[in-house]
Symmetry: C2
Subunit: 556 residues, 2 copies
């Protein structure tokens, strides 16, 4: 009889930063009992996913095997780890385990979608363990940029796995649990088969800095500001919110939180007993009557999101607040790669208003939530696993991290999304490649990455769209009044209206065709598409998308 396998299979997160979803399985080949770690989302962009609301991992490999799925475990409450539960948990129908702060936010997501919040089970931290088929899973507290982050200690018959989740080594995290070297050492003591490890900052060569380093820089900045002081950061960074609010309080300012995520996060943190001495806040309505030099806003939208509070404030009045010459706006955040342009738009808007913008450029007002390269080395050594599997990174991050593991004398495994690795044997072995991809939430529909819906939108965005309506009578003669309508194409060229020129060209062409062509939808459509594209190319140098509507008139 073949031995049981211990499989690792990333469905998302290993090849991108976003939409984390990692499967572990144990049992005979093809009959492994399964657990899923994290169920996150990624965010759309105009370059590849215009109009898409949310990007989810394609979990069809898993939904085909629901009878084998024991449970879902969520490491922490960032959207790229928990954001998918509202959209996908109806497809999984399985308990979702998370620590209390994360569970609080996961339940809100299910409630928003009208789903059963009872699916979410609150987990106690290590040494508590949850049995899930052949697995025993413990939530090992770890420092990150959100409260109650956890690594997972996954005990299996083939040994212990530590799945790091997102983490940094922070011994003074301001709010929540410090990184506990002794606890990690204890968990590692019996030997660890594999460390599955965050790779985000593998290219950052300096040791990471503590959240506590930010606070002393904030106070003098806020104190020296003259007008209104506005700060934006990631709403989930509750420690930072507290540091900002306390700096405001120390400067004699009233604190007002703006933005839905900001209120949701602080609410959850208060409900779960994590935030205990957050300064008193006032509502935007009350803030309007506070002199601006006595006011501090803490707002959402540090990544330039167009509907969030930062962007709204940069464009004008928002909830009665209006920024002006002499105010200060602090980005207590880094710009995630890809968001530079949107953030710059806000900074320039603020500049036009005369607002002084302060950024994290000098490293004073922000620290990262992920372990840098030296910290990764520390954790490799502390856990001392046989195998290191880099996750949570683009391909280049995973590759660099695997090389680092090799260099430190362990077996580094490069396993991007879809790579099934068996960890039960003497050496890790890639045993399968599974098709993975992205599912788009588009409006209220889940649309596959290759369904063509988004591709068509991209093509219309690049090329414009010409629509042609043509009528054919019951003798297969094309009637004369062919109609062309253009969207997203220059309407006039030197020769006059472009649509008119297309109609003229088609009229000449269609007058010449035989009834065999006119009687065949496909041939007729093909001819019209070619004709429209030829005129567009000749006249305005574009090759539009073309839709042809052929109406065949029946004999009366």
């Amino acid at each position: 009889m073949a031995r049981d396998r211990l499989i690792y299979l990333p469905l998302g997160g290993a090849g991108e930063i976003g939409m984390n979803a990692y499967v572990y399985g144990y049992g005979p080949e093809g009959a492994e009992r399964l657990i899923l770690v994290d169920l996150g989302i990624a965010f759309p962009d105009m370059d590849s996913t215009p109009g898409v609301d949310v990007i989810l991992p394609d979990i069809s490999w898993l939904t085909d095997k629901l009878d084998r799925l024991e449970a879902v475990f969520i490491t922490h409450a960032h959207e790229d780890h928990v954001g998918g539960v509202g959209h996908l948990s109806p497809h999984l129908k399985t308990p979702i385990h998370a620590r209390k702060f994360t569970a609080n936010l996961a339940r809100r997501k299910l409630a928003e979608k009208g789903q059963d919040v009872g699916l979410v089970k609150t987990a106690h931290p290590w040494p508590a363990q949850i049995e899930a088929g052949p697995f025993k899973v413990g939530f090992l507290p770890v420092s990150h940029s959100i409260p109650e982050s956890a690594a997972l200690v996954i005990d299996t018959p083939a040994g212990r796995i530590i799945h790091s989740g997102d983490f940094k080594i922070d011994r003074t995290p301001v709010v929540g649990e410090p990184f506990d070297d002794a606890l990690w050492a204890e968990v590692a003591r019996g030997g660890v088969r594999a460390l599955v490890c965050d790779s985000t900052n593998v290219f950052s060569k300096h040791p990471g800095r503590s959240e506590a380093e930010v606070k002393p820089n904030l106070e003098p900045l806020v104190k020296s500001a003259k007008g209104m002081f506005v700060a934006t950061t990631f709403a989930s960074n509750v420690a930072r919110l507290q540091s900002l609010a306390k700096a405001g309080e120390a400067a004699g300012r009233s604190i007002c939180l703006m933005g839905r995520a900001m209120r949701r996060m602080t609410e959850a943190a208060v409900e779960e007993g994590i935030l205990t001495d957050f300064p008193k806040t006032i509502s935007p309505e009350d803030a309007a009557s506070v002199p601006r030099e006595n006011l501090m806003l803490i707002v959402t939208g540090s990544q330039g999101e167009r509907r969030a509070a930062s962007a709204q404030l940069s464009r004008g009045k928002y909830f009665g607040m209006e920024l002006k010459d002499g105010d200060t706006f602090l980005f207590s955040s880094k710009t995630i790669p890809g968001n530079e342009r949107d953030v710059a738009i806000i900074m320039n808007n603020l500049s036009e208003l005369g607002v002084d913008v302060v950024t994290e450029a000098d490293g004073l007002y922000h620290v990262s939530g992920h372990a840098n390269r030296p910290d990764l080395e520390t954790v490799h050594q502390l856990v001392d696993p046989q195998i290191v599997i880099p996750m949570h990174g683009e391909h280049r991050h995973l590759r660099e991290h695997a090389k680092l593991a090799d260099r430190l004398g362990r077996v580094g495994v490069l396993a991007p999304n879809g790579t099934m690795v068996d960890l039960a044997g003497n050496q890790p072995e890639v045993v399968d490649h599974v098709e993975t991809g992205r599912t788009y939430l588009d409006g209220s529909e889940l649309v596959g990455q290759f369904d063509g819906v988004v591709r068509d939108r991209l093509r219309m965005a690049l090329n414009g769209h010409a629509v042609v309506a043509v009528m054919v009578d019951d003798d297969d003669e094309v009637l004369e009044d062919t109609w062309v309508d253009l969207r997203g194409l220059p309407e006039m060229d030197k020769g006059g209206p472009l649509a008119d020129r297309m109609e003229d060209y088609l009229a000449r062409q269609l007058a010449r065709i035989d009834t065999r062509t006119a009687g065949d939808d496909e041939k007729l459509e093909d001819l019209i598409i070619k004709g429209v594209r030829k005129v567009a190319q000749d006249e305005v140098g574009k090759r539009p998308e073309v839709t042809v509507l052929i109406t065949r008139l029946a004999a009366e």
Copy 2:
């Protein structure tokens, strides 16, 4: 009689990094004689300008006053300064002055468009001066990241202006002219009314570094590489190309240039006597037979451009070259903000091929071509103008630079695009605000920013496009066979094909309307658009763009 005015009016470049175009004028109000400095382009992106080929400044203010335009002066051959000459010079019909390398490239642009290359006049450097109406203009050599960059010394009856162009203080630029402090001091000696000055790097606090610092880092890197060595940089950075090629030569590698811009730039530099000892290069065809460890490719596409050599090589075979495990790829360039995502795609593709990617992250393999903040201070002091007008920057750069000028005891003028400043009086005075904007080259057409063409494309990209064809008979009765065709919308929802459901809905609606509605195109269209959007919103949560084609059948 009113005194003459000396006006400064940026039409592009002051409020963005790109499409530089600065007007100077001298004379009585409304009758000033004019010159234009630079005529550049900006590059489109999917966020705001999908499908656009090139973005040009809207120069209609100037084309309305062609009888007053004396000449165009181009400071250097970067696309954001010279890129517009092929597209816009037919509208200007005026001589274009530039130094020989810049003129060479400007002539190529005119020739490509079949235009008169005789418009381009080769200018000698300072102390030569060109008379243009009331102006005398001299090309003052300055170091930058392209050969023969020049500041312009613009002498007017109201005093001397120095228009810096793009520059850095580089006393060892590898190729071309070093920054010449003595020459600048000499030009400034008689007093300078205004310094109009590059603002790109005003937020960079450390002194700029010399091009010569890159070369010694390249040699050991190339020597230590095992497989093929590929380097990308800005094609126009001829000094860098030479440093790269020499490092390759020193490592015993044959040099092959790939990419059109790379060949165009080196050709122009050789023709104009700027590159005199560039190592011998081989063609891609010959390179294919060179062992990979003896080969170095220098390629275009450092900004992730999808059709350039870097992107092509990262995706597979290109001109017979194919990268593989053990090769090295160097980005000897910085990523311009906004291009991060495209560059990351290439890096990840290369990582998948097993190629080691080296970046400028540690500052070893790239230096900027623009003056940093301390260098700007040096130049303010060296030129000692009465007025400093920041240009070449986003609003936040201009504002910061103006504040810097104020702090150093001069008059800083914040003058974004469209701000007309009179420099002839005791104090600079904003005398007008002119409408400026962007013109899109879309295919072969020039399209205005607010013409709606690109806006329609963006809307289709975000919302999808539904097309409805409906026929109305000569009694104003809507015929039954209404047809709906969808692009970029989820085609199926839980209830079946979406287009069918729209057709059913419309059929029910249209059966109920009176002939007054059916007889009125606008009312009928409005009804159909609302109906289609309602079904789309209810069924799939989207609000598509809708095009309605109404065909009215005439009585036979």
